[in-house]
Symmetry: C2
Subunit: 479 residues, 2 copies
């Protein structure tokens, strides 16, 4: 590939492997040194040790901050902190922005206030706002004092928004121009910059009062005649956002209209900041990870190498909820202990009814919640969706119910028991389908998050409901 150095994911992996190898050697030497403590310390080994560290530091300096962040995240705590010490102080800020919240906490805990201040000094107001919630309070106050008036104002305004609002995600790196100048003048103006901000795919056209008039895409600037006026070339109808807009809606708009950057204007139409695609991509990724985590009953992102106690804290809440629903299901069974004593096969078959109902209900609720999230499902669709899901449940319940009834008949040689099993399975899947449609739609109407805990609720209903339907039918018809 001649002069062109490849930097694709594979070669990144190579670099990471090199760092890991250096760390391993570093560890070996440390162990050796450790073992010889008290004895005569071998000069050669100490040199090897130092050499390793120097090489490691050199490797780290070559890496993009995002790659260093990635390495830090994939290291257990002690090694993570050892590597963190090797990173040059002026890069600390950029790297802290890239690591996950959980890992950021461990890194900041290892820094003293001076180091934090030094790291923060290289950052813009919007980047500081991202870090601020994780910093010690007195450091934030001290930081505020070092900023100039404009930066302080920006930091304050960024901090005033909710984490999920556009205002908390925007930056202030916009280049503004007037609409009454020629493109020639714009080009000359741009050449006065040393570098343009990242993601500058458009310039923002404002009037004397800072009101947004339109945007001038760089693409248009490049192909248009230099004599034209900005007003003739700009698009006067750009996609704009309000700082109070919901970030997930902004992300959808970025996706839908293939945006790279977009202006954020306040209620008066004044240009306030700008949103860029990289923030939106991070948001989309985080949002989807949150969805996967909460479906599994993890409250938040967890540092995979965090301590046992921290993990217990992250996980106990959902286990407690699960315990309550399991206890409820257990009490439902308790109601029918007499029936089980008479026909112990019921105990063996009842988990099947509950389990397959839960699976089917989760399929329905996932479909509906996703439809709500993408805006395809409205409350008005309720009856139509209910009909469809009930149909699916009836067919699936009947088909698998017949299969299972045959197996149960082979095992227990009891036709009545098989018929009860078939009926219970079909009914429980019907219950699951209805609840799978109704619960998220009710939550939508009440303006609550339709996704939160919906899977737990469905499982609780299909467990208790399944046991009740199966044991109830059995008690009525079999005993």
């Amino acid at each position: 590939m001649s002069e062109l150095k490849r930097k694709s994911p594979e070669s990144l992996q190579d670099r990471l492997d090199q760092v890991h190898e250096l760390l391993r050697r570093h560890r070996l030497v440390e162990n050796l040194v450790h073992r010889q403590e008290g004895e005569h310390q071998d000069l050669v080994e100490s040199l090897v040790h130092k050499q390793n560290l120097v090489e490691l530091q050199r490797k780290l300096d070559e890496l993009h901050p995002a790659d260093v962040a990635y390495i830090l995240e994939s290291l257990p705590l002690e090694e993570r902190l050892a590597v963190w010490q090797l990173v040059k102080a002026e890069r600390d800020g950029d790297i802290l922005l890239e690591v996950s919240d959980a890992v950021r906490e461990t890194l900041i805990a290892d820094m003293d206030n001076e180091e934090i201040m030094a790291a923060a000094n290289s950052l813009d107001a919007d980047e500081l706002a991202d870090l601020a919630p994780d910093l010690p309070r007195d450091v934030v106050r001290e930081l505020m004092d070092t900023l100039d008036a404009q930066q302080r104002e920006r930091l304050k305004s960024a901090l005033s928004f909710d984490e999920d609002q556009v205002g908390a995600m925007m930056d202030f790196d916009m280049i503004t121009i007037r609409d009454d100048v020629s493109l020639e003048v714009v080009s000359r103006y741009l050449r006065r910059f040393d570098a343009l901000p990242d993601h500058t795919d458009k310039l923002f056209v404002v009037d004397n009062d800072g009101l947004l008039q339109g945007v001038l895409p760089v693409k248009k600037l490049l192909v248009s005649s230099p004599d034209l006026l900005v007003a003739d070339v700009m698009s006067a109808d750009p996609v704009v956002f309000d700082p109070e807009d919901d970030a997930s809606e902004a992300a959808q708009a970025f996706e839908r209209y293939d945006l790279i950057s977009a202006p954020v204007v306040d209620a008066q139409g004044k240009l306030f900041g700008r949103l860029t695609i990289d923030e939106m991509v991070d948001y989309i990724r985080e949002e989807s990870e949150q969805e996967v985590l909460s479906a599994a009953g993890l409250r938040e992102e967890e540092d995979i190498f965090s301590s046992v106690w921290k993990s217990v804290g992250n996980r106990w809440a959902w286990l407690a909820i699960n315990l309550c629903t399991a206890l409820l299901a257990s009490r439902v069974i308790g109601l029918f202990e007499g029936s089980i004593e008479q026909l112990v096969a019921l105990a063996a078959l009842m988990p099947i009814v509950a389990g397959i109902g839960g699976n089917s209900g989760n399929q329905t609720v996932t479909m509906i919640v996703r439809g709500i999230a993408t805006g395809q499902v409205q409350v008005a669709h309720g009856r139509r969706l209910l009909r469809k899901e009930a149909g699916v449940a009836l067919i699936n319940g009947f088909i698998w119910g017949v299969v299972l009834a045959c197996i149960a008949w082979l095992l227990y040689d009891n036709v009545a028991l098989s018929v009860v099993l078939l009926s219970a399975m079909t009914l429980n899947m019907l219950l699951a389908a209805c609840m799978g449609v109704v619960i998220p739609l009710i939550r939508l109407r009440l303006d609550r998050d339709p996704a939160l805990g919906s899977s737990v609720m469905i499982t609780a209903i299909t467990d208790s409901g399944g046991f009740f339907i199966f044991l109830g039918l059995a008690t009525i018809f079999l005993l």
Copy 2:
């Protein structure tokens, strides 16, 4: 907001509401006309009908193709096809690219070959490649014939890659320049274009043989002196991809390095195509949706308004797997029917042991699978993670086991039963934790997808295992 028209998500919602309102009126009139069939058809009503359609068509014409796609997706089948008929033929291609696979199928099924050919004519080779798998075979063949040699070559090569490979996602809209010309010449060259391709944030520098020499970011072109040569300004070490690279790795690289576009080069270093951030965003979104869907046992994306039979087809596979695992758990219980007959409380308590083990195991497996996906977890970390997860499970198992043992003691007044319950819960959560670490790591080592079905497998183990441990301990110690 003076002259500036807002087009933020809210006002999009307004437009969508207008379309829905027009559709509703359209439906009302149709019903009316339908009721009067055979009678004297009222001219006025037919006019109202037409007027509605014209207004609807006008509204649709104003909307971005992505918005029309969104409307089509949120409509039940009959109305979806009615709206689809109103869309201008030359926009069909763009809209087909935007809708989800499931909805695209319903739209294409409604078009005849001529309409499809007309829609396809407005598309580029890489866009055709996205549509081709959903088109009738003879249409694809006919299409191939209408393309010029270069386009046909590109379509063929795009189709030759796997859906998840970079080669299937790249486009061919790159602007190439030589490195021995001045920026002034580049600027003049660009001005000869009517418009630059979307997402042109860099120009690709190639030599006479088409080998990639570097990239010239547009940002640099704008701030640098026009007299400089491309070779002096370009970056010679860009992030490049191979057409056979995995799309998920490319997406991670785009995220990590905040890329907007990147060159794709073949094994010889020849420029082959380009990747853009919009494709990567779509990929990230689809990948995360796939994860959520498959966790719930849905094989693929499902049109929420699809027919009952289609949905049954999409869902039966996982229900069948679930049925098998449930049957296995049921047979484990069957082994201990004698014990349950003697102490029926076991039947009521056993689902708790199984359920909370499943929840806990799913937490572990989700953490590990995520860690593997982000590259933080390697096989070498196995022992450390096993220790940690076992610790978490022991603590959680013991705490909740004690709570539950107390409740069971209150209910059944049987200390021995409570102790068995406590032991079984702790052991089953330990089993869940170990399997939650071991299963994904084994799959990783065997080069399989660690996520696929891991939740089903864990639940199967904790169900059967939980029943076995609890009933086994009870049989040994209580009877």
